[in-house]
C-alpha cells in the first residue's frame, strides 16, 4: 500500500466527500471527516519522510506512462506544502464541531462537512499533481467548494462576498486555463516535467510569454496579491468562522505553491519576460501590499476583517521573497507559507471562539475579554506577536530570512520597509490587546465563559507550534532548504 500513498493522499478525502453525504447527522459527519483528515495528515507525514529520504516520488495514474497519462509527482516542495495544508485542515476540523453547530443549520451540517472534504481534496490534488490540466480540474473542485462554504456564513453579506469571489475566482481560473491552452498548443503536452524540457526551445515566443502572463495573473487572482485582493477581506470576514480559519491557513498557501511551481518547475528559474520582469513587479506589489493592507487593518472595526487585511499584507511578504529571487528569498517565502499558516490558523480559531461566545468579533465584543476568556485572548496575543515577528516566534524566523535575503541581494531599501511593516502589525495587534485587557467589559458579557474545549485545544496547539517552531526551526528550515534547492535546479 505504501507505493500508493501519493494517490491515497488525494482520493481518500475526495471519496470521503460523497461517502460523507450518505451520513445523515452533523455529529457523525464531523466525526467521519475528522477521522479522514487525521488519516490524510498521517499520509502527508509519511510522504514527507519518504521524499526527504529517497527523493521525488512519481505515481502513474491509470498505469499510463507520463506524458500520455497523468502523473502524480511528490517532491520535497509538494510534500512540505501537503503537510502544512493537512496539518491545519485537521486541527481546524477537530475544533469545528461547536462552532459549526452554532453557525450552520442542523440540516445543512452534513453538507458543510462534505464541502470541507471536497475543498481539502481539491487543494491536496493541486499540490500532488505533476500535470497542468489536472491542476485546473482540482482547482475547480476546491474553488467551487470554497464559494459554497463562504456563502454559508450567517451574515447575509456572506452571499455577496461569495459571489464576488466567485466572479474573480472564475476569471482567475479562466486565465489559468487560457495559459494551459497556449502551452498545450505550443508543446503538445500537459505534463510539467515534459513541458519543462520542451519550453526552453520555444523561449522568445510571444505565445510562451502570453501563456506565462495568463498563468501568473490567474494564480495571483487566487492568491489575492495586492491589488487583486479585493475579494478577500469580505470573503474572510463573512464566511463561517471555521471556514475563515481553514481558508486563511491553506488556500492562499496553495496559490503561492502554484506560483512557485509554474515559475520554477515549468518555465524554469531563468525564464523572464524581457518587457515585464516578474521580480521587479513582485517587489513593488509586495511592498505596496504590506503597507496598504496593514494601514487599512489598523482602522478596521471588525477583527475578522482586520486579520483578513493582515493576510493580504502577509501575502505581500511571501511575494517579496519571490521578488528578491535568490535562494534565501524563496526560502523566506516557503518559511512564511508554513509560519503564516500557523499564525492565522491560531488567530482565526480564536476569533471563532469569540464569535461562538459573543456572536460577533467587533472591537465592542472583545472589550475586557482578557478577564472573561483569558486563554482565548492569550492565544490571540501570542499569535499576534508572532505576526509582528517578535523573536522566539515563527514570525521572527520569516523576517530574519527575508532581511538576510534583502541584504545579500543588496536591496537596502527593503530592510527598513520590512521593519516598518512589522511596526504596523504591532499597531493593530496592540489595538486588540488594549481593548481586551485595558477596557471594561461591555454590560452583559461579564458572565461569558471560556471557549469550548475542542476550539481551545486546536487553537493552543497552533499557538504552541508558533513558539516551538520559532525556537526549534529544524523541520521547516530543512524542508524549505531542500525544496528551494530542488526549485532552483541544484541537487535535489
Amino acid at each position: 500500500m505504501l507505493s500508493h500513498l501519493p494517490i491515497l493522499q488525494v482520493i481518500i478525502p475526495l471519496l470521503a466527500a460523497p461517502a460523507c453525504l450518505l451520513l445523515d447527522r452533523g455529529r457523525i459527519a464531523w466525526a467521519f471527516s475528522c477521522a479522514v483528515a487525521i488519516v490524510s495528515l498521517a499520509i502527508s507525514l509519511s510522504l514527507l519522510h519518504q521524499v526527504s529520504g529517497a527523493g521525488p516520488l512519481s505515481y502513474e495514474l491509470g498505469g499510463w506512462d507520463a506524458p500520455w497519462g497523468i502523473e502524480y509527482r511528490i517532491d520535497l516542495l509538494s510534500a512540505y506544502v501537503l503537510l502544512v495544508v493537512n496539518g491545519v485542515a485537521t486541527l481546524v476540523l477537530v475544533a469545528a464541531r461547536s462552532s459549526v453547530a452554532a453557525e450552520i443549520d442542523e440540516a445543512k451540517q452534513p453538507l458543510f462537512y462534505v464541502l470541507y472534504m471536497l475543498c481539502l481534496a481539491g487543494l491536496l490534488g493541486i499540490i500532488a499533481t505533476g500535470d497542468i490540466f489536472n491542476v485546473f480540474v482540482f482547482l475547480e473542485i476546491s474553488s467551487l467548494a470554497t464559494y459554497a462554504l463562504i456563502a454559508l456564513g450567517r451574515d447575509r453579506r456572506a452571499l455577496w462576498a461569495a459571489y464576488q469571489y466567485l466572479i474573480v475566482g472564475t476569471i482567475g481560473a479562466t486565465f489559468i486555463l487560457v495559459g494551459i491552452g497556449f502551452l498545450y498548443s505550443l508543446t503538445g503536452t500537459l505534463n510539467m516535467a515534459d513541458l519543462a524540457q520542451r519550453l526552453p526551445a520555444l523561449a522568445e515566443s510571444a505565445s510562451v510569454y502570453a501563456a506565462f502572463a495568463f498563468l501568473v495573473v490567474g494564480v495571483c487572482l487566487k492568491l489575492a496579491l495586492f491589488p487583486l485582493h479585493l475579494w478577500l477581506p469580505n470573503a474572510y470576514a463573512y464566511a463561517p468562522s471555521i471556514v475563515t480559519a481553514f481558508l486563511a491557513a491553506t488556500a492562499t498557501k496553495v496559490a503561492v505553491y502554484l506560483l512557485l511551481r509554474f515559475h520554477f518547475s515549468v518555465f524554469g528559474a531563468s525564464f523572464t519576460d524581457p518587457v515585464l520582469p516578474l521580480e521587479g513587479i513582485f517587489l513593488v506589489l509586495g511592498i505596496a501590499g504590506v503597507f496598504v493592507a496593514s494601514i487599512v487593518a489598523i482602522f478596521e472595526d471588525n477583527i475578522k476583517r482586520l486579520f483578513a487585511y493582515s493576510s493580504v499584507a502577509q501575502i505581500g511578504y511571501m511575494v517579496i521573497g519571490m521578488g528578491i529571487g535568490s535562494a534565501t528569498g524563496v526560502q523566506a517565502t516557503l518559511l512564511h507559507l508554513f509560519n503564516h499558516a500557523l499564525m492565522k490558523g491560531a488567530l482565526f480559531l480564536a476569533l471563532a471562539a469569540v464569535v461562538y461566545r459573543l456572536g460577533g468579533a467587533n472591537f465592542s465584543h472583545i472589550r475586557g475579554l482578557g478577564r472573561t476568556m483569558p486563554l482565548t485572548m492569550a492565544a490571540i496575543v501570542v499569535a499576534g506577536l508572532s505576526l509582528v515577528g517578535v523573536p522566539g516566534t515563527v514570525g521572527f524566523i520569516t523576517k530574519w530570512y527575508l532581511v538576510m535575503a534583502a541584504i545579500n541581494g543588496s536591496h537596502w531599501l527593503l530592510v527598513p520597509a520590512i521593519l516598518l511593516g512589522s511596526l504596523l502589525a504591532l499597531v493593530y495587534v496592540w489595538r486588540i490587546v488594549e481593548a481586551a485587557y485595558f477596557s471594561e467589559p461591555v454590560a452583559g458579557t461579564e458572565t461569558c465563559r471560556e471557549a469550548p474545549l475542542g476550539l481551545l485545544l486546536a487553537m493552543w496547539l497552533l499557538v504552541i507550534a508558533n513558539v516551538y517552531f520559532g525556537l526549534d526551526t529544524r523541520l521547516p528550515v530543512a524542508a524549505s532548504d531542500g525544496a528551494v534547492r530542488l526549485l532552483m535546479g541544484g541537487a535535489g
Binding site: P18, A19, L21, P67, L115, F133, A145, G188, A213
Partner: protein, 328 residues
C-alpha cells in the same frame, strides 16, 4: 468553404456574446445564451470535435438555459439596479483581448498537421489506442482511460456544484410544504401530449448515448445531461410535487454520491491486483477486456452522478422559486 463557415460561426458567436451582455431583459439574455451554446456546438462540429459538440449542445444549449430560467422564476425578469456603462472594465477586457491576440501570433497555424499538439502526445493516442484500449472512439479512450483521473475530477466538480446548491438553498422535500395550486403546465393539452410522446424517446436516447459512448460520440456526461433534461421536462409539465413523488430528492442525493463512489471504487479495485489507481487493465485477465469493463463502469458512474446532480439542482431552484418567487 470551410473557412467561410468557420468565420460565419465565429462572427455569430461574437454577435450573440455582445448581445447577451447588452440586453437588459434577463429572459432574452438567457435565450441568447442558449443560442450561444448551439452556435458553439456547431463550431465544434466543423472542427470535427463531435464529442465536445455533443456536450456543448446538451449543456450549453440545453440544461444551462433551463437552470437559468429556473433562477429567473426566483428573481424576476428584469434587473433591479440601474444600468451603468462600465468603461473601465471594457478597457481592461480590450487590453486582455489584445494580449490574447498577440499571444496567438507565434502559435502553430490553425489545423496544421505538424503542430506540436498533433505530433507529441496525441500521436500515441491515435496510433496505439485501438490496440491498447480496443475501442473505436479515441476521445472516449483519452477521457476515460489515458486521462481518466481528470474525468473523475470533472465528475467531482459536478457533484460539488450540486452540493453547493443544496447547501445554500432551502432543504428539498423537508418539512411540510404548502401545496401549490397550479403547479406545472399540465393543463396545456398540446404541451402535455407532445411531451408525453417525447419523454420516453429522450430517456431512451440518453441510455443509448450512455452505452454507445465507446463506439460513437457520447458517453456518461452527455447521457446524464439528456436524462436529466427528460426529467426536467416532466417536472415543468406536471409540477415539482409530482416529479418529487416519482424521484425522491433523498434518493437523488444517494445517487449523486453513488456515481462518484462507483468511479472511485473502480479505481480502487485496481489495487487488488497490485496495479495503480484507475488502471483498468488489471480488472480482467486480458488487459483490453479489462479496459472495456473499466470504461463501461466509470461511464456509468459519470452518467449517474451527472443526471442526479442536475436534477437535484433543478429541483432545488424550482423549490426556492416556489417559495420566494414572484407570481407569474
Amino acid at each position: 468553404m470551410g473557412q467561410i463557415l468557420d468565420f460565419t460561426l465565429l462572427f455569430l458567436l461574437l454577435v450573440t456574446a455582445v448581445a447577451t451582455a447588452r440586453v437588459r431583459d434577463l429572459f432574452a439574455a438567457v435565450m441568447l445564451s442558449g443560442i450561444y451554446g448551439l452556435v458553439s456546438a456547431s463550431f465544434f462540429v466543423t472542427m470535427d470535435a463531435v464529442d465536445v459538440a455533443f456536450t456543448e449542445a446538451a449543456v450549453g444549449a440545453g440544461v444551462f438555459p433551463l437552470l437559468l430560467l429556473a433562477v429567473l422564476a426566483m428573481v424576476g425578469r428584469y434587473e433591479k439596479t440601474a444600468y451603468r456603462r462600465p468603461w473601465a472594465a471594457l478597457i481592461l477586457v480590450t487590453i486582455t483581448g489584445a494580449m490574447l491576440v498577440n499571444g496567438t501570433l507565434d502559435m502553430p497555424a490553425f489545423g496544421s498537421a505538424d503542430s506540436p499538439a498533433q505530433q507529441h502526445v496525441a500521436q500515441r493516442y491515435i496510433e496505439e489506442s485501438p490496440e491498447e484500449i480496443g475501442i473505436p472512439n479515441m476521445v472516449t479512450s483519452v477521457l476515460a482511460s489515458y486521462r481518466g483521473y481528470d474525468t473523475l475530477g470533472e465528475v467531482v466538480v459536478i457533484f460539488t456544484a450540486a452540493i453547493g446548491v443544496l447547501a445554500l438553498l432551502p432543504s428539498l422535500g423537508g418539512g411540510v410544504r404548502r401545496k401549490r395550486e397550479s403547479d406545472g403546465m399540465g393543463d396545456h393539452q398540446v404541451l402535455r401530449i407532445v411531451s408525453k410522446i417525447l419523454m420516453p424517446v429522450i430517456l431512451l436516447f440518453a441510455l443509448y448515448v450512455q452505452f454507445h459512448g465507446e463506439y460513437g460520440p457520447g458517453g456518461g456526461f452527455q447521457a446524464g445531461v439528456i436524462f436529466a433534461a427528460g426529467i426536467i421536462l416532466y417536472t415543468m409539465l406536471f409540477g415539482l410535487d409530482t416529479a418529487q413523488a416519482v424521484i425522491k430528492p433523498s434518493v437523488l442525493r444517494v445517487l449523486a454520491a453513488t456515481g462518484v463512489l462507483l468511479y472511485g471504487g473502480v479505481g480502487l479495485l485496481s489495487f487488488l491486483s497490485g496495479a495503480n489507481f484507475l488502471d483498468y487493465s488489471a480488472l480482467a485477465e486480458d488487459p483490453v477486456s479489462g479496459q472495456h469493463i473499466g470504461i463501461i463502469l466509470i461511464e456509468l458512474g459519470v452518467g449517474i452522478t451527472v443526471a442526479a446532480a442536475i436534477i437535484l439542482i433543478f429541483f432545488a431552484f424550482s423549490e426556492a422559486a416556489g417559495e420566494n418567487g414572484e407570481e407569474t
